[in-house]
Symmetry: C2
Subunit: 488 residues, 2 copies
């Protein structure tokens, strides 16, 4: 080895790197790649300098550098050696299997957890569930989706298909979706009006982070969806609550608010309001759009389950009557396929969509192109449309079954309206009923339903909860209502 | 129909909803679901009141409500009819196919696009590419991944598997990953120390949004990665640049900065620094950790391609020598499989990981459970580890080939060090060369490489670019260098 060493080193005098650093770096590399082992005795500085044709002081400097860093050690009068204990940063302790008992529990730096994040999360895993309004994934065209995904993954040039892509999302999906939205909702979009996101929550997050600033006023449905409010609070926006009645947001009340301070954004769930499932009335829609144009605020229209309406003449979204570009319209495949497929869409004027797509780049770079293309394929082949038609038929039947069950078995304890759409019944229990206790006891019988604590808004005053009917079949619905009946 | 109508209506006197609204709502539903068609003549208010056993004024109120909303119209002396033009909000115009010419180009509300987003995005699609340092997706175990994904999608209870899940990500993946990180990097983690994110950029985004506030000081490598800086700037943090030399960040310079103002976070790419590929020297690592403990700042360790080192004794990450919990460690499968699979991991103390997981809920709710579980399966079956070993062998060979080509054909025009790891060579072109012009002409020959404008930092002063070698095979590398040679 000693003979070999100089042939492994080379010196480039024209380099900007000083020669001593060139030597030190190369020696360090030889140590780190195992060529020079611990205990290996280096040539004397004089010998090495001669062989490299450099000044001896240069080699001394190189050795000193490596001694200082701990790569070498010198035994007085005996020479310079590769260090016994190389300056690896050692792990904190020995690793014994993956369940290390001394993993870190607490961060060494300070942080405050903001109060708005402190919310319970939905539970899954019980056999029965009257959930927040989720689809029945058992109906989803998983076999078709899986085939389409596989085909996306395995065909074509992988460098292009599996590389970085458009932050707006798959063009194919945007194109198919544009046609679908225009046909079913009376929108007037092209692919350039659409940004594929990971569900409505990311549409809200992007809009909030990209278009709101601290101190901006945001008007929201009250009661309303906490997921949206959490985002608004996060950026320091000031939330103004607009009451919701049987016809959705009280737009007259909104107008009064507009006259008092500048509103930057109005968040509205125009169909199947969350949590009450009411729809915004036609005349209020027209007035809301007039206010938007007059006061210049953004209308964020959260239309999370538009496809699931059971009337033959559902109202068209606000976004369909927006010639001046005030609306950002947001929907999702969460309810169409299943919550696990995190694909949704934000629709708006080209300029703001293009801006938010650039903004999205610093959040998660881009969506899942394979999945997006797979969904596009299901659109193109009509699988998704057939699945939707089937789902609407099945869910409508389940809605009727469930409402009939509520009426038959719980008529004395609950108050509800049959919803025109969506996947849940907004159910107000008799104030005398301790919902928290009933929900806890139901859990023991393998039935989940919300005890109302999920929404910290004035909801508890109503003792109201959403009872989702779509994810359960008839016998599951019967069993669930029976359990509640027995516990009340 | 006229006879049927009253049997379709019912009145609930105990309801909180006024009776007239009950009647109005039910009529509106009948109109919207098509039971009552346009032009249908309603019973007189007197007749309907008699049949419903309500006061006539109640029916008048209900009709008035619907007249006001436009659902009904009254023809004087002739009765009340379902309106000819129902108050649907009409689409802005007729939709003719999906390429509507009058889609919205400009938003109706005002917004400013911040300057920091104004960066060119990488191009894909040329046959040849010396990219920013991407893997060769042709080598990726796509067939295995596809099978694993399919199995995740189709087996088990779809309500649970395809429902909402843990915002930290798949437990299975976190568990497998924990073992892998402990084994390969000397970390001491359990699944509770890991948050699955969608690539390093989301780790940075979450950390920035959750732990920084406007006015906080952040110290970064300079030159450094603009993707990180864009996030810091966005929240209003003040960026302090710490010079990078051949041994990575100048930690002495950092200490001087620390003495002047409180630093909240230090962003460092400890291995394969971006863009220069240098590694942070052992003694500097130790000093950096001492400074973190002394000054209480967060160390964000971006370790985007640790797995790809070509020395037998690579340095262990800072996170392995962090008994007090100062480090947030971030890695990704972007380089392991391909950029399209948006899966990465943020590692830290349990409390901060748990907080950031709750925070993640308002960004995209959760990751792709099927994909995460599929990757876990590749870990468990050893497919991923075998793929990594193969990739490292192939990329090391390509690095050597490429550096040899640079040396042979471009020696007079470029200056570079052979990188110890990663997928790109940091190549400084002779200042006399107009890189922008060369890159533009190379594009015409179907070869992409960056012209340096991607990074707006002092990089251009160096006329330096990253030339990625990993995604091209030997003949592609040869062809690429030949094209550049011919253009210089």
């Amino acid at each position: 080895m000693m003979q070999v060493l100089p042939t492994l080193l080379s010196v480039e005098k024209s380099s900007r790197l000083p020669v001593y650093l060139q030597v030190a770096n190369q020696l360090m590399t030889l140590i780190r790649n195992g060529t020079l082992q611990s205990g290996y005795r280096l040539l004397s500085t004089r010998q090495l300098a001669l062989m490299l044709k450099v000044h001896r002081r240069t080699v001394v400097q190189a050795y000193d550098e490596l001694l200082a860093q701990g790569w070498l050690e010198s035994h007085t009068g005996n020479g310079t050696f590769v260090a016994k204990n190389l300056p690896e940063i050692e792990p904190v302790g020995k690793v014994n299997g993956q369940k290390s008992p001394s993993n870190l529990k607490k961060a060494g730096f300070h942080f405050d957890e903001p109060d708005y994040l402190n919310r319970s999360v939905l539970k899954a895993g019980t056999r029965l569930h009257l959930d927040d309004g989720f689809p029945d994934s058992r109906l989803a065209p998983l076999e078709d989706l899986s085939r389409a995904y596989r085909s996306q993954l395995l065909h074509g040039n992988p460098y292009v298909r599996l590389g970085y892509g458009d932050t707006k999302g798959s063009f194919w999906l945007r194109d198919e979706l544009s046609a679908y939205l225009n046909e079913t909702r009376g929108l007037k979009t092209t692919a350039e009006n659409i940004l594929i996101v990971r569900g409505v929550i990311m549409g809200i997050h992007l809009t909030t982070a990209g278009l709101l600033k601290a101190g901006d006023y945001v008007a929201v449905d009250s009661p309303g969806w906490f997921g949206a409010n959490m985002n608004f609070v996060r950026v320091g926006a000031k939330i103004l609550e607009v009451p919701v009645d049987e016809y959705g947001m009280d737009v007259d009340a909104l107008e009064k608010i507009c006259m008092k301070q500048p509103i930057r954004l109005v968040y509205v769930t125009s169909h199947h309001h969350y949590p009450t499932t009411v729809a915004l009335r036609a005349d209020r829609r027209i007035n809301l759009m007039k206010l938007a144009e007059k006061y210049g605020f953004i209308v964020f229209e959260d239309d999370y389950d538009y496809d699931f309406h059971y009337l033959s003449k559902p109202l068209l979204p606000l976004a369909g009557a927006d010639p001046t570009g005030m609306v950002l319209y947001c929907g999702s495949f969460t309810k169409t396929i299943s919550p696990a497929f995190r694909v949704g869409y934000l629709v708006g004027a080209e300029d703001v969509i293009s801006y938010l797509a650039r903004f999205r780049r610093i959040i998660d770079r881009q969506g899942d192109q394979m999945l997006e293309n797979a969904i596009a394929e299901l659109f193109k082949t009509g699988v998704l449309q057939r699945h939707l038609r089937k789902s609407v038929r099945v869910y409508k039947q389940r809605r009727d079954t469930f409402c009939e069950l509520l009426k038959t078995h719980l008529n004395d304890y609950v108050n509800f309206q049959v919803p025109d759409g969506g996947m849940a019944v907004w159910t107000r229990f008799d104030p005398a009923i301790d919902l928290k206790a009933v929900a806890a006891r139901a859990l023991q019988k393998d039935l989940y339903f919300s005890d109302g604590s999920l929404s910290k808004l004035p909801l508890q005053l109503h003792n109201g909860v959403r009872l989702g009917f779509a994810s359960s079949n008839q016998s599951e619905l019967e069993e669930s209502v029976e359990i509640i009946r027995a516990l009340i």
